[in-house]
Structure formats: structure tokens, C-alpha cells
Symmetry: C2
Subunit: 387 residues, 2 copies
Amino acid sequence: MREVAIIGAGTTKFGELWESSFRDIAVEAGIRAIEDAGISGEDIEALYGGNMSAGRFIEQEHIGALIADYSGLAGLHIPATRTEAACASGALALHLAVISVASGWYDLVIAAGVEKMTDVESDVAEDLLASSVDRKWEAIYGATLPSLFAQMARTHMEKYRTTKEQMAKVAVKNHANAVHNPYAQYQRGITIANVLASPLVADPLHVLDCSSIADGAAAVVLCAAEKAKKYTDSPVYVKASAQASDTLSLHDRRDITTMDATVFAAKKAYQMASLEPSQIDLAEVHDSYTIAEIIAIEDLGFFDKGEGGRATEEGETEIGGRIPINPSGGLKACGHPLGATGIRQAVEITQQLRGEAGKRQVPNAKVGLTHNIGGTGGTAIVHILSR
Amino acid sequence: MREVAIIGAGTTKFGELWESSFRDIAVEAGIRAIEDAGISGEDIEALYGGNMSAGRFIEQEHIGALIADYSGLAGLHIPATRTEAACASGALALHLAVISVASGWYDLVIAAGVEKMTDVESDVAEDLLASSVDRKWEAIYGATLPSLFAQMARTHMEKYRTTKEQMAKVAVKNHANAVHNPYAQYQRGITIANVLASPLVADPLHVLDCSSIADGAAAVVLCAAEKAKKYTDSPVYVKASAQASDTLSLHDRRDITTMDATVFAAKKAYQMASLEPSQIDLAEVHDSYTIAEIIAIEDLGFFDKGEGGRATEEGETEIGGRIPINPSGGLKACGHPLGATGIRQAVEITQQLRGEAGKRQVPNAKVGLTHNIGGTGGTAIVHILSR
């Protein structure tokens, strides 16, 4: 199989985009990625689009063809695929796009993620999120995503002495990073005291422990690595792309302080890339809740199990720390438009590896990792990118 | 790239499956395919599942991981992908599964399609179907799938002298075939008079011109062709797998008596297989409405444009005719559980090429084609299979 490169990357502003429709933001992200790659729409051989909520929120399915259509590509009749793995729908689109180019099936494709979430009432959005976990054995009894992550947090606290302050520090760090990210929903700093004073959503998680519902879209253009230099002087190479699954229900897991889907996907990704966790310079991980980041940095092998909270508290995951986590601001401060997130993570790593991340630049970033999960970890997808 | 083979195939009964849940039928189809392949669940390296309606009908997304979980595969943590391209969600799962094996990414995978549609009111189902077309420019003004296909039918009638009797003949033929298909929803014959006497849904389409909402699931096991003989004496080879898109809206098309997505996907498929339409022995095509079969057999190159109605009338598409179309009974008589249909078509062709189709067997079937579309043709996916 061939090596694959990212040659273009773009994202819309994330947030409450009242003046833009689902179609508008999908097209906007696509155009930014295409312009960044310096290609024409006619160069695109296939489109992969990650989305979770359109069926319920805008009563529209058939999203792959829709995006191709509204991007003006319908006349080319390119294959257009919609992928869904709950909150990991975006990384799934990227993963399938990578396979399609690595295999030689296509030479140049676009992978996008898009979600328009703020036009519905928040209870409708919460219920949509609950369709990412087991409706029959969890959601129907009232379990929502925050309550399930709260169970993970409580167990992690009991088992590893993780504290609410350590979890709050995840949010504080990510907000501090997002101050320098013009595409983030929240470009403002917060303090640990702010987090702990914010309303409890599901004990021990406060509002500021939770990522937010948002609108947004992001896109990357991929091509065969051997052809990447035709388009750009700074291609970013996909060294690994790995996906794994787990039970949807938390109660079926062997241990709710770890996500085996992450462990398996990461293991496979490190094997593909022939790299160790210690060789990763920075990572965008799935901090849908602050506890999720702590669990992720352990499961990804950056820290020993149970050490995620302490490492966060001691600044090891800050820009300038041992391994900067979520320099973009993460889901917490960028906002989390489900299907867009996995692609936005790849956009961030691409910009970081190119040295284009401005004031949030991780110095000397050579190898970056993205980690995107669905629900409470029923799906995990890990990519390793290098310059 | 490597050649890919189907080594196992299975389907549930299609119809109103009151006693089975979405999860039940997904698992049932998977087990049948796995048993047919003579493999163990542990041999499966990845799962692709096509589904359109679960988000709205059973309030459950994250379908890929859900199916893996309920199939007892969660402990293997295999990649589990849900695909959606409206009514073509099943063939899309198959297409991605083929790419994943052809590329060498995996050696053995399962592609499934599942839909549970009869537990909701029919207006809810109709509205879900309308999310396959352009919600903003078609459905919101009251256009439903039958009304859009009625426009295609009316135009085809005016342009090519196609008659209501010729369309009715599609339904009559497909019902006659389904009499011998134990998995079909309607195992009974009908007459042209029955079709014309049935209530008008959208002039000129009567109820019996329309395929039905149904529950059902189907699955196929794919492996690298070079390893297929390890598992079976009668592998079925995937000679081509091609996908194309078009505008979602009918009014944006150059001609509504043809589907350019079908034309493009078919052209690509014939190129991949190095075959001409005349070399295809039988086909399962997307007869969501009788007019859709007439348009499909023209667009697939089996008959000249405008000749589909006449050819049907003269029996050229019957078993024993020049090119048998929908020997299974098609969507019309098997029922059309959206995401399951594209996989069920592959199951039928597999059984036909193995000579296992019983009283509906097409004599001496060597090469078969499947054709699955989304909505009114915003997506089309064509596979060519051979023994």
C-alpha cells in the first residue's frame, strides 16, 4: 500500500453559526481545504463526509451526495460517502479516505466533517447524543452522555485519587490554548475556580467540564504521498490510521476507567507507524468531558494508568510541557460539532506540523496524533501524522 | 490491488417482522453469512453496516459498533463502520468492504445491511424516505419519493411511449419470481389488471408499482480471492465495484428519464471488469418503483434508451429471457428495507452464480450485476460478480 499525505486543510469557525446553514458550512470548509491545497474541485475523485445528526436535526439524510451537490461537484458524479460513528464520524471519514488512497483506488480525495446542532432545542440535542450510547440498555433509563462520563470520572477518582481540580485543569489548559485559535468557539481563558463554581451537570462534572454543542465543519484533502510535492512544499504524511470498537454499554466493559477501543486503536496505530508513544510530539485527543482527556492520555500510552490527572495538574500536557495535548483548545474550547471534530483535529495537527499554528504553535512539532471517539468509547479512531 | 471474493451470504426473511428487533435481525443475517462461509466470528477483521433509518426509527446511531457488539464481536474490538447513502446504504457498505480487502488493509470482512421500518407509522416512514431527496428544495414543498418517481414515469411515457401496462409488467414479473423466493415479503403472483386496479399513489404510479416498507437484514462475507478456496469450493468473485453521485434534486438534472449516477457507475464497473453489458447474464436492479427498473435497465446498457418498457413487455427480462432482471423478486416483491437491499441483491447474485437459487435459478448464470440507488438517483452503486 502507498503512503498518503494531507495536502490541504481548512475549517470554519466553530460556534453558534446562526447565519449559516448546514450546507453553507460544509461548502465553506471544503473550499478552504481545496484552496489550501491549491487544487481545483475537478481534481477530487471521491468525497467522504462524517456526520451524525442531520437526519434528526435538519431532516436530511444522503449527506454524502448532498455535500458533493452543494459543492458544485454533482456534474463530476464522484463517489460521495457519508460515514457515521457517533462523535467519531469525522475521523471515520478520514480513515476511509486514507484507505481509499493508500490502496490506489483513488489518487486524490477529500474528507470532511460537518454538523449543524444549534438550531434545535438543547433537549433534542441531548437526546441525539444519547443515541450514541446503548438506547435500549442505557439511554432509555435516563442515562445521558454526561451521566455516563460522570460514572467514569467517579470511578477514576476512587481508583486513582484523581481530583476535581485535576479534571478542571484540563478545561483551564484547553481554554488557554483556544485563546490563540481564531476558529475556536470559546477564545477566552477560565480558571479552576470558574470550573468548580459552574453548575453541576452530573456529579462530579460541572458545566465547564463538558464540551459544548456547536456548529462547524472541517475538511482535509488527501493524495498519494508520491504526488504530494506536486501540490505543496509541506505535505503532512499519514503514518497510521486505525479504528477499533467496543461495547456500546458502559456496564459491559471490563473497566470503565479505560477505553479498550482507544487502547486497541492506539496499539495498531503505533505498530503501523513503527513509533512509540514517547515519540509523539503533540496530540489532539477527544476531551468531550475533562475526564475523557485524562483517560485518553493514559490509554494512548502518554502516561501510566492513573497518572493522567497528576500529569495534567503538573503542566505536562500544556504547550511547552512534555507532550502538549489539545493545543487547538480541544473539544472543550473549540466546541464539539460531532462529525466535524475528527477532521478538525487533523486540520490542527496539519497546521502544527507545518509550523502555521501561530501563538499556539508547539515548538519543533514533527509527529502528531489525533484521537476521536464515539459515544463513551464504542468507537475509537487514531491517526498519526508526521511532516 | 487484489481480487476479492464473496465466500458467505445470508439474509433474514424480509417483511413485517413483528417478533424481531433491529438488533435481532442484524445478528441473524450476520450469523447466516458466517455459517454459510464456514468461518468463526473471530475470523472477521472488520465490519461494514449499511443503514438509513435507525436514528429516527429506533433513536439509535452508532450502528456499526452496535452491530459488532450485539454480534458478540465487541471483545475483538474490530473496526465497525456504519455507512449511509439513503436507499443505497447497503451497497455502500459492500463497496467500502471491497476496497478494504482489495487494498490488503484487511483479509476477511463482513458487509451487512439492516433496517427495521415497520414499527413506526407510515407517515413517519414516508418522511424518512423524503430525507433521501433534497429536503430544502423538494421535500419541504411536499415532494415525496413516489411523486418524484411519478414525474420520471410521466416524462418517460411522453418521451418514449412507455405505457402503464409496461410498468405494471415489471411488478408482475418480479412478483412471479418472488413466488420462489422464501425470503421475499410477497410470495404471490399478481396480474397487470391487479396493478392497474390498485389505488393511485402518484399518477401514473399505483400502489402495486411501488416497493414496500419492510424489515430485513442481509450480510456477505468477503475475503481476498487468493484465500477464498480455503473456505469454499464456490467463491463468487467481485469483478467490479463502482459508485457515483448526482444532484439530489430532480430539477437540477439534465434529463429525468435517465439517472446519470447509474450511467457513470455502470461505465466504471464495466471498465473495471473488462466486460460489456451484453456479457452480463442476470441483474438485480433497484426497482423501488416499476419505472425505476425500466430506467435502470436502459442506463445499465442492457437496452437502448426508451426500449426498457417494450423489452419488459416482451418478456426479455424474465427468467429465461434475454437478460433476467430481479430473479429474486426485486425490491418490489422482496420488500425494501433500505440499507438491507443492496446487500440482499449481492446475496441473490451469489446464490444464483452458485446454482443455489432453486426454482428461480437463472440457467447457466456466470456473471451477475447488482444496482442500488439512493433516493431518486443521487447515489448509484454497481457491482459485477462472477463465478
